[in-house]
Amino acid sequence: MDDLRKRAKELLEASAVKVVIGYENGTENKTRAIFVEKPEDTGKLIFDSRCIMNLASYLTKHEVKNKGKMAVTATLPVMRAIIQLASEFQVNDSNLLVLGITPESKLIEFKDLAEVESFVHKYQIEIDVRNKEMLDKIDKMPASERWNFWIKELAPCFKCYACRAACPMCYCHRCTVDFNQPQWIPVPSHELGNLEWHIMRAVHLAGRCVDCDACYNACPLAIPLNLLTKRMLIDAKEHFGGYQPAIKAEHLMSTYKPDDKENFIL
């Protein structure tokens, strides 16, 4: 933590960056984002196991990015998100410096995003045991039971779009749900509206989701909506050899192989 503060201070003093995005103590033992612009404020930066929010979500936000070059405290999921964002031309070396935190909680310096990428590639995206069990459980249900499960789980959703706001990959200025010519997704949060929103969200994140669980952590109603994107991740692995964000890669869903395998086309 001291390393992090020291490095942040140096960067701000040398005007190498305009803002350091990190974590600070929040309410009720939670942590939250802080945007440090003055060297003397770097003492507020913290890092510990409570810091689970994906700070990459802020990198595409107007008022943050307009400050100038940003440095960001980045755990592995945040780094993955950054690489995916870089591949989608949302961040680059001229506007972002990554203050990496290794899974062992050590500060790691990166010269550029290419270095971040090679670090990220040392680790595979693994779905945790608890969620894996849940996925298996759902897979084993008969189809109609699965249907009822999802209708019930999605019923509380009131479409506050916290999942969208907290997701680093949901940076579109106007989301599909915000268009009404045509209105693809019903605006009201009735059963159909909720079902369609969550289908759409999952599909738009297929092959891009870095499995950081920001959506689930953001949901004020604790809807297990991250299971949908996790399932997409498993499918990507099964059918297309897995997903690993890469700066110059073709996106999983905007590319193809002539010999992609399936067993259902007549």
Partner: protein, 149 residues
């Protein structure tokens, strides 16, 4: 359910399946009349939301069909479509949407008989499954007031 006639929506590409279905007609092959064909430039243009929309509007089954691999008029539209179908079909299955009601096929402009066969088989299968009431119930929710989450 003896008098149930399924409503099937077919999303087909202009260059292969649509022409194939045309051939079915000009070849005087008789097939089930339950299908409403919607013509698209390419399977790559068939957005997954359209399939959802078909169910919303009361379809009991869906057929999506286009050119065989390597035959795409636009070179790779059907390859892209195939990737999306793989993911979308799996997501639908995971969410409990009855994937027996969504058929994907490659039907070329020369396969008039195959088209008739696919439609007939789909209609028979969906007639046996009955109307897609499970989905229709949800699609009708705008008809009731929603109050308590």
């Amino acid at each position: 359910m003896a008098d149930f006639e399924p409503r099937i929506v077919a999303f087909v590409c202009n260059w292969c399946t649509y022409a194939g279905a045309d051939l079915t007609g000009t070849s005087r092959i008789k097939y089930a009349s339950n299908v409403r064909i919607v013509r698209f430039p390419c399977t790559g243009r068939i957005d997954y939301m359209l399939l959802i929309e078909a169910f919303n509007e009361g379809a009991d089954g869906i057929i999506v069909s286009g050119c065989h691999p390597n035959d795409c008029h636009y070179t790779s539209g059907n390859f892209h479509a195939r990737r999306r179908w793989i993911m979308f079909r799996s997501l639908c299955d995971f969410m409990g949407i009855d994937i027996r009601r969504i058929k994907f096929s490659w039907v070329s402009a020369a396969e008039g008989a195959k088209w008739a066969d696919i439609v007939n088989k789909t209609v028979t299968e969906i007639r046996a499954l009955g109307p897609y009431d499970e989905y229709k119930k949800v699609a009708k929710t705008p008809e009731k007031e929603v109050i308590h989450g």
